[in-house]
Symmetry: C2
Subunit: 457 residues, 2 copies
């Protein structure tokens, strides 16, 4: 592929805004008239149009007007086989799994159904501006294969893995620890680092995993240390209680995963609503990540994630955000930011310490960092994706700041006129409008490895 | 206007689903093939197509296919002059008013701005399927006049009133109790029961109202007992504390309004997040209504409304739902139901009594009743609107159950095939999909007084 350029207005991040309290904009980068040079799917150059264009004589340039161009969004926690059962009524986590989720996921043993599901899954992600996700599959290798194959066809960066569960699910859904080990090995060989696919050893959650299954995970991680580990942690009070009963020798939920050598860099625990200060501290020290899933935590009534605790500089935990479809009821990471903001604000009705309350506020800087560079850092993908640094893969989303319901365009007209944003502050205010008033309608284009894979109709 | 018919699939309510625990569908009515006869803007007849058509030979009939037709939605609490400042960053109620809201509302002293705002306001409502609202205006009569005039031009049923505040706002925003009394009188004469306009005596909230202002409200209500009373109550902890300081002789927040003779039928208190059991009981006995505004309560971090308490049969409070734009970040009552469901589910993480937990669940029956007949009953409008009973005004919304983000259509295909719903249960499940996965994109048409005022493009 020869090089080409994209000219437009760019916003990305170079640091964590939580490190710049009171000066969050220092973590962001804004180019009113920027040029991104793409070569073989990667970012070859990036900067002001005048500066970059001078270095690339004769470059073919696509100009994108009246839009904000951001790095593609990253969804840190999502269940691909729950696409169809999104928004299922009336239950908290454990009964919801039994009533709605397992019956749907069982269908993914059928290859045709799984293939169709994978196709629809990526269609939804790309229409939402999400270019990378870390996904759960099912206990069936068929579903995992179809997901990786579809990601490969689209050349989308993906972290996923066979999702192990050997108890607490219907007999035709669970599988044995031995089978999980054998199938995971085979899938790692076949998919890990093939194209943009990355493999995560994936015990579904401690409550659904016997000691044998977790021991299989430990062995897999030891044999394949380059692999990711993805699971759930401390999502609901009932689940935490169950884990305590199932693993009475472990002091807390995190200790179960620690005992099996899973916690460290490239480990993700989804939810973490009920993590203690001590668990946050140990996750921080180990380099593990928590994935905050606000839509899901509200939809399933799991509780309010303590953003201000997770981001405490004394024990800062790597943090990504997740839609958690279908526990979360929206694919769009903009909707996820809507609910994340609300969780932070409701937390602040009860938080006493002003500094913690301040950290609970999901500003547009914190929000969009969390679904781009912050997520990439949390998931140890920041050498590949997350911002427009040369060398990274050219995944990007083109945002129409007037996108969303009718109310959006007049709202945004308080910030900018037809000429669009000329300052970072204006751009950030437009982005806040997108997360609170907008939705997937704001996604005008989604580009993956320098190719436009979605264009709004 | 000669009579005409609308043929399609109808769903409305004839009772309160909270009265039918375990058999909520007994509160609803579903006609797969129904016919609604409209004459002079009112419902002249309604029932199965075969039954009704036989009574109206030669009737011109519009057939609406592949849609669910519901009564128009009712928004019980919204601020018309906050349309543009929707989704403003970072503050809880009291600082948010000072920083974002008053500066915008002051602009509505200008008639041209207010007229443009009123036009946009109704455009947003109708695009969201909302055919009636109870609205706050500003302290300026200009804004109130423009709102009523615009409602009159569209023939939309509206409750509104000059919004009195004589302290706790910028000097150029507050107005005196005397002016409020005089202007309110004039506006009542000019607008109350003119066309579909209804007047609400509207003290903004107790904290912003001096005893003189509340005394003026009392006098207005005594002189115009047919008028509504609309205000805020117990929205945030800080506000409740402030009211206690301002009215130390009143035992609680409700008691302030009681003392001035405002609490009773046609009284609405918006929010009520922090109402005590005793206040719920007194509201119940008096026939007053609370308006639950979940988007706003989350967005401003005000707290979690105790749905299960308000709906306790021992002291059932009339309840409507409100978008509370701009404290709420979405105009669509579908989005309001999304957040209402989440508030109920999060409440259930802490509620001990199973019956209360059950009442906290916003099923589709409870949700859609709450924004149609339930709201009409709460606001004492149920002789005019709320369901398809003959004699009522023909306000209706035509819902596309596939409307929303891409994920919606596959989700709904789990419930029905292309033929659409044939049972009430299926229709209710589609409606749950609309409230949790859908949004204003599901609004295909909005009809007001038998005229179609909105058609999705």
């Amino acid at each position: 592929m020869t090089a080409f350029g994209i000219r437009g207005t760019f916003l990305d991040f170079i640091d964590d805004p939580w490190k710049h309290v009171g000066r969050e904009k220092d973590a962001a980068r804004f180019l009113v008239d920027g040029l991104l040079v793409v070569e073989d799917g990667r970012i070859a150059d990036f900067g002001t149009y005048d500066g970059v264009a001078a270095r690339h004589a004769g470059l073919a340039v696509t100009t994108i007007r009246d839009r904000l161009i951001l790095p593609g969004f990253i969804d840190g926690h999502i269940h691909f086989p729950q696409t169809r059962v999104i928004g299922a009524f009336g239950e908290h986590l454990l009964p919801w799994l039994q009533k709605w989720i397992f019956p749907e996921e069982i269908k993914y043993k059928d290859r045709a159904y799984a293939r169709d599901g994978a196709r629809r899954f990526f269609d939804n992600l790309l229409a939402s501006g999400t270019t990378t996700c870390q996904a759960f599959t099912t206990s069936s290798p068929v579903a995992t294969e179809e997901l990786f194959d579809e990601a490969g066809r689209r050349d989308v960066r993906l972290i996923a893995g066979l999702t192990g569960i050997d108890r607490l699910a219907p007999p035709d859904y669970v599988d044995s620890a031995d089978n999980f080990y054998r199938d995971s090995k085979r899938l790692i060989e076949r998919y890990h680092r093939r194209g943009r696919n990355l493999y995560a050893i994936t015990p579904r959650f401690a409550l659904g995993a016997s000691p044998d299954l977790l021991a299989a995970c430990e062995r897999l991680k030891r044999e394949h240390p380059d692999c990711w580990v993805n699971t759930h942690i401390s999502e609901t009070v009932d689940e935490c209680r169950g884990v305590q009963d199932a693993y009475p020798d472990s002091g807390d939920y995190l200790a179960v995963y620690e005992r099996y050598g899973l916690v460290g860099p490239k480990f993700s625990g989804g939810h973490g609503v009920w993590l203690s200060d001590g668990e946050f501290r140990r996750m921080s020290e180990s380099g593990a990540a928590v994935v905050f899933c606000p839509c899901s935590n509200l939809f399933l009534g799991s509780g309010l994630f303590r953003i201000g605790q997770a981001t405490d500089p004394r024990h800062r935990v790597r943090m990504a955000l997740g839609s958690d479809v279908g526990g979360g009821n929206r694919f769009s990471m903009l909707n996820v930011l809507d609910d994340a903001y609300k969780v932070g604000m409701v937390n602040n009705g009860t938080v006493a310490e002003p500094a913690e309350a301040e950290r609970n506020r999901i500003s547009p800087y914190r929000g969009f960092w969390s679904i781009t560079l912050g997520a990439a850092e949390a998931l140890y993908l920041d050498e590949m994706i997350g911002n427009f640094a040369p060398g990274k893969e050219a995944d990007l989303v083109v945002l129409d700041w007037k996108g969303g319901p009718l109310a959006q365009s007049w709202r945004q007209s308080l910030v900018v006129d037809e000429a669009g944003p000329s300052t970072l502050e204006q751009a950030a205010d437009l982005l806040f409008g997108l997360m609170m008033v907008g939705d997937d309608r704001a996604i005008d284009e989604t580009w993956v490895m320098g190719r436009r894979l979605f264009k709004k109709m």
